[in-house]
Amino acid sequence: MSQEDALVKAGGVNFVERLVAGHELSRRDVLKAIGAGTLTLAGGGLIEACGSALGTTGGSSSAGTIKIGFVSPLTGPDAGFGEPDPYVISLAKKAFASGLTIGGKKYNVQIIDEDSQSGTRAAQAASDLINAQNVDLILTTSAPETVNPVSDAAEAAGVPCISTVVPWEAWYFGRQSNPAAPVPFKWTFHFSFGVAQFANAYEHLWPQIPTNKVVGVMWPNDADGNAIRAALGPMLKAAGYTIVDPGAYADGTTEFTTQINEFKSKNCEIFNTFPIPPDFVTFWEQAAQQGFTPKIAQIAKTGLFPSQVEALGSLGNGLASGVYWGPTWPYSSSLTGVSSAKLASGYEASSGKEWNQQAGASLALFDVAAAALKASGDPKNKQAVATAMKTLAVDTPLGHLAWGTGPNPNVVPTPIIGGQWVATPGSAYPIDFVICENSNDANVPVAAKLTAYS
C-alpha cells in the first residue's frame, strides 16, 4: 500500500487537503513530510518500503518527465536479490541526472522504485506504478514470483516492460494461456538465461573431472523444479549422463534420508539441485552425516550469493554453481559507462559487502531502458517504445543484447558461466567464485579448472 492509499484509508486526506488550502504548500509536499515523519518514527523495513516510492516522486511532474518504475524484491525470501538494487539505482539516477535528450528534446528522468516483497506485493506494485504514477516504462527483476505478475500487469495495461533474472522459459511459456501454442507478447520484453544455457555450462564443466556420469538430482515440486525436470533432464541424458531422480519433493521438506539412500546406492558421483536455499542446507548437512559426498556438487537457485555459501562454513567450499554476471565480464554499462570490474568494486566499497551477481543484471535493465527510450524517438509514446524494443541492440554489463535474434520476439537469452565457490582464507572476503568454463560466452576469462568437491 502506498503512503497515499494509507492516508485515504485512515481518512487523513481531508485533513491534508484542509491544510493545503490554507498554505502555499502542495498536497504532495505535505504527504512527503508526513511520510518522512512516519519513516523516522517507525524505522521499520515495511514502512520504509512503502515510503520509498513517495521519496523518489518529489518534484513537480512536467510534461517533459519520463517516469520509469522499478520493481524488485527488497524484503521477503528473495531479498538477497534486491541487495545491490539501491546501489544500482543510485548509479542510474546519477546517469539520468542531466536528463535524456531524445529527438532534439530534453526530458527529465524519474525512477520510482517499488518493493515486490518477494511476490506478495508484486501485482499491486505494478498497478500502483501504472495507475497512480502513470509510468512510461516498467523494469522488473529477480525470480518469477516478482517478475511474472509485474509483466502480466504491464501487458494487460499496455505499458512497456523490460525484465530479467527469470529462466526465460518460465517467463515466456509460464505466462501463455496455451503454452503449447505461444503467442508473442506486445508490451513485455525479457533478457535472461534459459535451460539450454544451464545444460551447456554443465556439459562443459562436469567433464573436467573424471566421473561415472551418474547424476543424482534433487528437483523440487515447484515452478522451477518441474521446468528443469522437463527440459534439463532430457538434455543431460542426450549428453550421455544417467539421471537418478528420486522424484519431486515438496519445498519445506526437512528430512532427506530417502533421497540420500538412493543416491548412495546408485553411486551418484555428480549431484545437481534447484532448491529453495534453506532446504539445500538441511539436505547437505544430512548428506554429510550419512556419508553422501559426490565428486561434483552442482547447485543452482541457491548459492547464488557469497553470503549463502559462507553460511555453510566448510560445507560450502568447492560447491559448483553458475553465475549470470561477475566482475570479470569484459563489458560495460552503456548508460553509465561503468565497467563490470568498477561495478563490483563500487558496490563493495559502498555496501561493505562482497560483489553480488544481481548488480550486473539490474544495471543492464537501466541500459536497456535508456536505449529503448532513445530508439523510440518519442519516449512518452508507449507504442513507439514497445516497437523500438523489438529491434533494440544495446551494450550492458551482461554483454551485447539484441532483440529479434532470440528464440522468440520477446526474449534474448543471456549466458550462464560455470564455476566453483572456493574458500579464500586471508583475503578480504572468506569465499570467492572461480570461473571454470565459458562455453556460453567465450569472452569471459576462465580462471581455473574445476576441482573435486570431496
Binding site: Y249, E255, G291, L312
Partner: protein, 288 residues
C-alpha cells in the same frame, strides 16, 4: 527402520520449537504467531555473540537465554497484557503484528543475508554414528535430548514448584486464582518469559540445522504449531509426542513419494483436528 529413527530425531527438533508455543497456549490461551520469529531472534543473538566475541556457541547460548527470558517478560507487560484484556482475538492479532515488526527490524539490522552457526560449531552438525544400517546424527540426538530435558524440566516446574502450581491454577481459572491471592499478571508474564526463552533455544538449534535470515520464522511456525495440535494443546509430553508423530509421518510420506513429505504431516494434523478427542494427550477441562 533407518527412516523411523530419522523421523523420531526430526520430531525432537519440532518438539523443541513447539514447547514454548504449547506453554503459552496452555496457560494463557494465546496462540503466539510471532513464535517462529522469536526463535529467529535467538538465532541472531547467538550468531552476533559468536561472531563479535568469538566465544564458543554453547557459552553464547547460555548468555542469550536470560536475555530472551527478560525479553519475554517485557513482551508480556508491554503488549500481551493489554491485548489480553480486549478479548480473545486481539492477542492473536498482536502477535501477528509483532511477527511482521520483528521480521522487518531484523531485515533493517542484519540485511537479508543468510547466516548459520554451522561454521562455528565445527563438525557437530555433520558427524554421525552408524551401526547395522542405521545412521544416527549426533546433532539430531543432541536436539532430541535437549527437547526431552526441557520438557522434563517444564513438567517438574509445573507439578512440583510453587510457581508452577500457581501457573496451573491460573490456567484453570484465573479469577479463582486471584481470589486466593495469586497474582495472575505475574504468572502470565513468567509463562511468557519461559516460552520466549525456550523459543530462543529452539532458534539456536535451528541456526545449526540450516541457514536463517529475517524471513525464516513463519515456516518454522507451521511445523511447531502442527506438533502442538497433534500432541494436544497445553500438554508438555503431548508436544514431544506430537513432534515425533509429525516427524515420523513426514518421513514415511517421503518414503512413499518424496513429494508427500509435507503432505503426510498435514494429513495427520488434519486427522487429529477432525477427531472428536482433539490432540493425542489432551485432557478435557484440564490443561498444562
Amino acid at each position: 527402520m533407518n527412516v523411523l529413527v530419522q523421523g523420531v530425531l526430526l520430531g525432537g527438533f519440532y518438539a523443541l520449537l513447539a514447547c514454548g508455543l504449547s506453554l503459552m497456549f496452555g496457560v494463557m490461551r494465546i496462540i503466539n504467531l510471532a513464535h517462529g520469529d522469536i526463535a529467529v531472534i535467538g538465532a541472531y543473538l547467538v550468531w552476533v555473540l559468536v561472531n563479535q566475541t568469538s566465544m564458543p556457541p554453547w557459552l553464547a547460548a547460555l548468555l542469550v537465554l536470560p536475555i530472551m527470558w527478560v525479553a519475554g517478560y517485557v513482551m508480556y507487560v508491554l503488549l500481551l497484557e493489554r491485548s489480553r484484556r480486549a478479548g480473545q482475538l486481539v492477542p492473536l492479532l498482536t502477535t501477528f503484528g509483532l511477527a511482521i515488526v520483528i521480521e522487518n527490524v531484523l531485515l533493517q539490522i542484519f540485511s537479508p543475508d543468510d547466516h548459520s552457526l554451522l561454521s562455528s560449531t565445527g563438525t557437530l552438525a555433520t558427524s554421525s554414528i552408524s551401526f547395522g544400517g542405521l545412521t544416527i546424527s549426533i546433532f539430531g540426538m543432541l536436539t532430541l535430548a535437549t527437547a526431552v530435558v526441557v520438557l522434563i524440566g517444564l513438567q517438574f516446574f509445573l507439578s512440583r514448584t510453587t510457581s508452577g502450581r500457581q501457573m496451573r491454577a491460573t490456567a484453570e481459572d484465573p479469577d479463582v486464582a486471584e481470589l486466593v491471592g495469586i497474582n495472575a499478571r505475574a504468572v502470565y508474564a513468567k509463562a511468557t518469559a519461559i516460552a520466549v526463552a525456550i523459543a530462543g533455544l529452539g532458534g539456536i538449534f535451528l541456526a545449526i540445522r540450516q541457514t536463517f535470515n529475517p524471513s525464516t520464522g513463519p515456516t518454522q511456525l507451521i511445523f511447531a504449531f502442527e506438533a502442538v495440535v497433534i500432541g494436544g494443546f497445553g500438554s508438555p509430553w503431548g508436544t514431544l509426542l506430537g513432534g515425533i508423530v509429525l516427524g515420523v509421518a513426514q518421513v514415511i510420506g517421503a518414503q512413499v513419494n518424496p513429494q508427500y513429505f509435507v503432505l503426510f504431516g498435514h494429513l495427520v494434523f488434519l486427522a487429529v483436528l477432525a477427531s472428536p478427542r482433539g490432540g493425542l494427550l489432551s485432557r478435557r477441562g484440564r490443561t498444562v
